[in-house]
């Protein structure tokens, strides 16, 4: 029992990060119809910038704030410089653009930072908490709590504020949104900034546990994508639940089946979901106009 609980704790921690990446995916996908393969790089940037800002003497909260702000700016730049000019391009081209962006960001951070593995101290000490024979790091609580707070914040933003509803309107029908006076260009900028900031925040929260280096982004992007797809592409609730589920499944696979094949869990799930319920857990069935 305590063993299972231990796996659940670690699964929830990793899953919370996947959930944040998947949420970021969903925001950009809804706003622009683009699947952003560079999403994982935002997480990497969040962690790496915090590490280096902190090492240069800034207090941790300030370093984290700078990291989130800079990453959001990178997200905006990605939209302005690479996604917007290619509007209407075929799916393959968009895939290659965002993968290119991800390689570019990785290459740049390898130059700006370095190739070492980094970390910074956990927010509230390193003493684990004991629960029913299992232990959980306080930082894990930060990660899980942070993810839930971000999810609730997003939900409030999208349902309760005018700006959030403008984003939803744009993702439903860009032209119609424009006709009722929504600045869709600004909405796109906002979506990319928001998505990047969420990713960066995930990076800030999880780095004390998983450590970070310039090349952690790709794996995270793929897992986050799997999570988004598991929950149903374009559905924020699905993305969040999908992320947690994926994390749990991975931890259980590692614990009970094979730690070597824990990464396989994500991809077997993608394939199974796509085969048997392509709309995901929470997605609606879609039909194409001919």
């Amino acid at each position: 029992m305590s063993e299972l609980l231990q796996f659940v704790f670690s699964g929830m921690t990793v899953g919370a990060v996947y959930a944040l990446v998947a949420l970021g995916f969903t925001i950009i996908f809804n706003a622009s119809g683009v699947v952003n393969f560079a999403q994982g790089e935002f997480v990497m940037l969040g962690g790496m910038i915090t590490v280096f800002a902190h090492a240069s003497g800034l207090p941790l909260p300030l370093a984290a704030l700078i990291a989130v702000a800079v990453t959001a700016a990178v997200g905006v730049a990605l939209n302005r410089l690479a996604i917007e000019p290619a509007r209407g391009a075929p799916v393959v081209s968009l895939i290659i653009i965002t993968i290119g962006a991800s390689i570019f960001i990785r290459g740049a951070s390898q130059l700006v930072f370095d190739k070492q593995i980094h970390s910074f101290p956990a927010f509230s000490g390193d003493d684990p908490i004991h629960v029913l024979g299992a232990t959980i790091l306080t930082q894990s609580l930060w990660v899980i709590g942070g993810a839930i707070a971000i999810f609730v914040g997003l939900w409030l933003f999208f349902t309760k504020t005018l700006l959030g509803r403008a984003v939803l309107a744009t993702s439903n029908n860009r032209l119609a949104a424009q006709l009722v006076g929504i600045n869709t260009k600004f909405v796109m900028t906002l979506s990319f900034a928001l998505s990047a900031a969420i990713g960066a925040l995930g990076g800030v929260l999880v780095t004390p546990i998983t450590l970070t280096s310039y090349d952690v982004g790709l794996a995270l992007a793929l897992k986050g994508f799997a999570a988004a797809m598991l929950g149903g592409m374009g559905n924020p609730k699905g993305a969040f639940v999908g992320g947690l589920l994926l994390g749990l499944l991975e931890a259980l696979t590692a614990g009970y089946l094979s730690s070597q094949y824990k990464d396989a869990a994500a991809f077997i799930i993608i394939l199974a979901v796509l085969f048997f319920m392509p709309q995901g857990l929470f997605g609606r069935k879609s039909t194409d106009r001919v």
Binding site: A89, V92, I95, I97, F104, G107, I268, F275
Partner: protein, 318 residues
Amino acid sequence: MRISTKYWTLLFLAALIAVTPFFFPSGYYFRVGSLLFVNGLAVTGIVILTGYAGQISLGHAGFAGIGGYACALAPVHWGVPPALAVVLGAAVSGVLAYLVGRPILRLKGYYLGVASLGFGILVAMVLNNERALTRGPDGIEVPDLGLRGLLKDWGLNLTNGEFWYVVTGICLLIGAWIALNLHSSPTGRALRALHGSEVAAGTVGIDVARVKLQAFVISAIYASVAGSLLALQNKFITPDVAGFLHSVEMVTMAVLGGVSSVPGAILGAGVLTLLPQVLTVFAEYEQLILGLVMMLVMIFLPEGLVPSILRRLRGRDE
């Protein structure tokens, strides 16, 4: 004049392959050349799948991995001659593509991309983890093809670089010839029809699912043979050959040059094969520049280099 365009393309390609070695300053360039041809072969398969049929795969490196490891494992474990191992790898890849392709080709766009990506990563994972068989991430040595020795006995003495330049060059020509033939064959026309509109293709009596699957299997075999040639040439193979980045590289090469045309895709393979060789001087900046090239080409030349350049040359009369 359609038919002659095809033969001009092949002739031009053959001439290029035959003449360039006279300008090679050193033997090292034979190796770069054969690497380019292997990539060109894999990318020609992508042209059939993505350019003709309009389907995306981000997992074709998985098939390259199968082809490569077939050449590493079959001769050692089952005594299959290396040349036959290439065929064996291609057969396994083809069957696997058939089995995987049936369910995943029902998907479209991003979903198909991700499903194929999942497949490719699973292959890479198996190659990494089944150490008893594949010896894991460090890679495994591949037996010699044996053909060079045979040629030597017949009095034809080639260096290793020259030999592989010739073999891969011939394979690329055969691959390009098949792909060009396919283009105007009934299957090729069916593929291009469903690229335009699956529903329309279906209403004129094309078995959409079947032709898609055919394209997937054929392109998997291309990737597999390319993987085999790479393994035999290097006499060594690592699971990286099946990795996600290799899949992306294949698609990028194809799209860079122009995914709907065989010569375009081969040019794309050329650019991306030569780029790292040029960039060794700036090894630090390699990823930066590669990412930049990928983005810039897709933004400014969305159809790829060759079609965009051709359009410029013809003027804007279309």
